[in-house]
Amino acid sequence: MGMVLQPMFARMAPGARRAFFSFAVTGVCLLFAFPVLWLILTSLRPESGVYYVHRGTELTLGNFAEVLRNDRIIEAFANSVVIATLATVFSLMVTVSSGYMLSRFHGPLARTWFGSIYVFRCVPYISWVLPLYFVTQSWGIYDTYLGLLLPHIAVHICFFSWLMKGFFDGIDPSMEYAALIDGCTRWGAFFRVALPSAIPAISALAVLCWLFTWNEFLFALILTGQRTPVITVVMAQFVSEMGLQWNLMSATAVMALVPAFALSLFGQKYIVRGLRI
């Protein structure tokens, strides 16, 4: 395609070329945004209009009101918020130090740790979530906050230690050496020098971690039951239980999108940084 396009492209006047460029970019953006826009439009249509979303003009907020009357959905939202927030806090506490260790220390222990992190990241979730179901049950934490929270933190360890190592690699260690010479302990150097300079990176991780936990499905599906519903599982159950009520399902999905979008708009520059491995 490039072969055919390029001569055509070169012959165009600069103005036409710019017009073509804006046209292409707008088209791409629309294509990527369309499913979300369509979902929002569906969520605003009354039940009778949902089968002809493209026709008719009545819009309503009734779907949202109806969803908000459903106790199970409210509970699921609350649970998701609590778990995502707690998982973020604890994941950061655990992975920041592990990433720091990977970046600053060398030797057999650091190499082993890095190797095991890579291997564990490759393990398919299903291979350890399946037996985890029995583990949490026998420890009596199945279907509780703790039973979902701890595995979630464990999931994040591999990927986030890796990201955090990359961030610390980008921070010059000479400041820490200076602190050590001035009589700071190794821990002091970590807490007083390295940690403050890694705050942008830690923010990036926090945003990503929150989003990952909020969006996660398989762990929640297997490790929670009736007592601790979370939003992704409840939505997936909708598909089978209320498969015909697309207006209500869209409204729930839109509500689940709002926190993620708000957070990502707020943390956009951190996310872009965090995604750059």
Binding site: F32, V53, H54, I126, S127, L130, L150, F238, V239, L257
Partner: protein
């Protein structure tokens, strides 16, 4: 130094190593809900999974096809977008926000959206097809159209990730070779083919490795879009293991399937890691 990784290592041990060991143990036992005695039966679950046509001829080929097609699709489109966007223009930030959009959408929500759009009676896709005189399809009722919709969803979800990473890679390339090529009057296609692509190769390879490993274990979008149907024909290996363990309640066999999948991806992962190592060093 040990203290720095102690909490992380402990959590990994308790919630990843221990379950994997228990799962491995369960995979050698006859452990179903109706027979909780857990008799040791050796490799027979493994044999039964490997010889099962639903695993060997459907789930496994599906998994590899999905991995390959979804990664290649997202890579090609993502690369094209990155090259297109690699210049200064107004509204750059807006475009970046739009591209980030799919990355923020939970795979489950994406699957619900796409499923609604491809609904055979009222979905917008069929409405548009019929409006331009084509016949609407029962997308989710046929194996390959359902598989196509799954792929489309995954590519929609992951193309922006490729675009962002490749764009960052493009912007960190040195300018001189491109200026020299411009002075020589090289066509844009040749610049792309002989300058951009080779220089971007390390970034591309890293992206492909990470994405491939993640694509191999995809579960949520398939589960929400088709549930593995019609007639288990769009199952990936993770769905196969889940169905065995939680719908048929045969935990031993499900564990065996999960471990087989884990071993396969371990081999693939190590091979890919070697590949990256070589490419990045050259």
């Amino acid at each position: 130094m040990l203290l720095l990784i102690a909490p992380a290592a402990l959590l990994l041990l308790l919630f990843q190593v221990v379950p994997i060991v228990i799962g491995a143990n369960a995979s050698f036992r006859d452990w179903t809900l109706s027979n909780p005695k857990k008799t040791w039966i050796g490799f027979s679950h493994y044999v039964s999974v490997i010889t099962d046509p639903a695993f060997l001829q459907v789930a496994l080929p599906n998994t590899f096809l999905f991995m390959f097609a979804s990664v290649m699709g997202a890579l090609v489109i993502g690369l094209a977008l990155a090259v297109l966007l690699n210049r200064r223009f107004r509204a750059q930030r807006l475009v970046q926000t739009m591209l980030l959009l799919p990355l923020m959408v939970a795979p489950v929500i994406a699957a619900i959206m796409i499923r609604w759009m491809f609904n055979d009676q009222f979905g917008i896709v069929n409405v548009i097809l019929e409006a331009i005189g084509l016949e609407g399809q029962p997308w989710m009722a046929q194996r390959w159209s359902a598989f196509g919709v799954i792929l489309l969803t995954d590519i929609w979800l992951w193309t922006p990730w490729f675009t962002l990473l490749l764009l960052a890679g493009l912007q960190s390339l040195p300018r001189e070779p491109f200026e020299a090529a411009a002075i020589d009057g090289t066509t844009p296609w040749r610049v792309f083919r002989h300058l951009t692509l080779p220089m971007l190769r390390p970034v591309i390879v890293v992206c492909v490795v990470i994405r491939s490993i993640d694509a191999f274990r995809t579960f949520d979008i398939v589960w929400t879009l088709t549930g593995g149907g019609p007639a288990r024909s769009t199952e990936l290996f993770s769905l196969y293991a889940y169905v065995d363990a939680f719908l048929k309640l045969d935990f031993g066999r499900g564990s065996a399937a999960a471990i087989i999948g884990g071993l396969i991806i371990l081999v693939v992962g190590v091979a890919l890691y070697r590949l990256v190592d070589r490419v990045v060093r050259v």
